[in-house]
Amino acid sequence: MSIHTSTVAELSTALARGDHSSRELTEAFLQRIQGQGVALNALVTVTAEQALAAADAADRARADGEAGPLTGVPMVHKDIFCTRGVRTSCGSRMLDNFISPYNAHVVDRLSAAGMVCLGKANMDEFAMGSSNETSFYGPVKNPWDTDAVPGGSSGGSAAAVAGGLAPAATGTDTGGSIRQPAALCGITGLKPTYGRVSRYGMIAFASSLDQAGPMARTAEDCALLLEAMAGFDMRDSTCVEREVPRYSQHLATDLNGLTIGLPKEYFGEGLDPTVASAIDAAVTEYRKLGAEFREISLANTHLAVPAYYVIAPAECSSNLSRFDGVRFGHRCDAPKDLEDLYKRSRGEGFGDEVQRRIMVGTYALSAGYYDAYYLKAQQVRRLIRDDFLSAFEDVDLILGPTSPTAAFNIGERSDDPVSMYLSDIYTIAVNLAGLPGISVPAGFAGGRPVGLQLIGNYFDEARLLGAAHAYQQVTDWHTRVPEAFA
């Protein structure tokens, strides 16, 4: 067993058997990060010293008989999660100098579970992007082909797992930011139901859409991680007070009689034919496992990206108003008055895409335009949500591609915002509705990974993970590793 291609579950077993200490695993991954990993630009901060201390603490806890399944297993956090005493940049010049004074809820939970944080993963600036090209720290490379983007915005997290720099990572998903990079990098990524995981300490982009989730090699690993991440937190007013199932104990799922919907809108124009055949092959596998398929319609799918690009920028323009150069973050030199301080600090601190979205949101919320844009988008949001609700009256899960194409090349779409936005055409509606979704490796197109997306009903993560796990028992796409990072 090679450490860097192992799953979280395998490493957990190896630790429990005493085959490796957490220190050995941590040193092995740090070596990967500082060796082959450098070329990927997947991490923006490496916390070697803290990681080794946490590993030693995990080894001591194990010696004392206090180890859980995740104790001593290394991971990385997307740099959107606040980490006390460690720079939390959110991929932005604005927060390049920001040392967080507190931990995100998710960071505390995974640390309490004994996980060892190796560092912070690169990301699109403030999670706004689908390619990781908007990061202040430069683009992340896809381990399958370093000319290709890893997807975004959790591109550093996805590339770190696919490149064997960490067995697992946290991500956040506002419009596809966990599922799309998971698909493009050939790993498994779960976006939970809105409210399942606390957003406390997760730097806000669009608060009615943002949700944290796990990224790893397998559905089983995502189950282990979600179990530790999820749970009620007073400090997030939208966090749901609801028991967290033991997802990892309910993975074995009999798919006989399971009804899966195939939305015809997800298989139309714009879908790459090679991606389509990989998804068709996955449908065949699911049929063999006993699932039944039914064609469904999510009739307002074509309005999801337009509605999102009003709602997300509107929320972002409001959320990002806190970055004013006064209390933390970047401040311009020698401001001549308060307005100059605000304007230049923000103009210098934010990159192009972030400024674009702030301006779109500001415009959409401004007097005279509110009804035409923001209110309209919220009405469309209900139509999109209702499409899912009526689909789930007939089916248990919905299946389709995660992304219309495999990874595109770095630079290919960066000059055309609208064409970039369309990368998320199959993922965005899920956020508007607040539903859970998972992306699972399902083949290749032109040597680059293809992701299969499963969408579940509210709080039905257990069934989603079970269905993904069943597929991973009969396929081996999730075990493939890129040659250059084998």
Partner: protein
């Protein structure tokens, strides 16, 4: 909706963003393309549809009105660009 340079200048002012004059045409063209794209929503009649602000349509949770945070002013001000005597410093506002 097609925006011109003056529109962008006004939006940037509202958003408190310093935008280089030379880049105004580029911003105008990108923002116009985005607005044109989102206007696809106009094709559907939503007159009778209640807006959805939040996916779970939750009510705001209330808690007892008690102090739950301790004062961490020094810690929080340690990441501020300029503080003095516990206050955040900004350029003079009142002459």
């Amino acid at each position: 909706m097609s925006l011109d340079k003056d529109d962008v200048r006004q939006i940037a002012h509202l958003a408190r963003l310093a935008v280089d004059d030379q880049r105004l045409p580029e911003h105008a063209s990108n923002l116009s393309a985005i607005l044109e794209f989102v206007e696809a929503m106009d094709a559907v009649d939503t007159a009778a549809v209640e807006p959805l602000a939040h996916p779970l349509e939750m009510r705001q949770r209330l808690r007892p009105d008690q102090v739950s945070e301790e004062n961490q002013r020094e810690l929080f001000q340690s990441v501020a660009p300029a503080v003095e005597g516990g206050l955040y410093l900004v350029p003079r506002v009142i002459e």
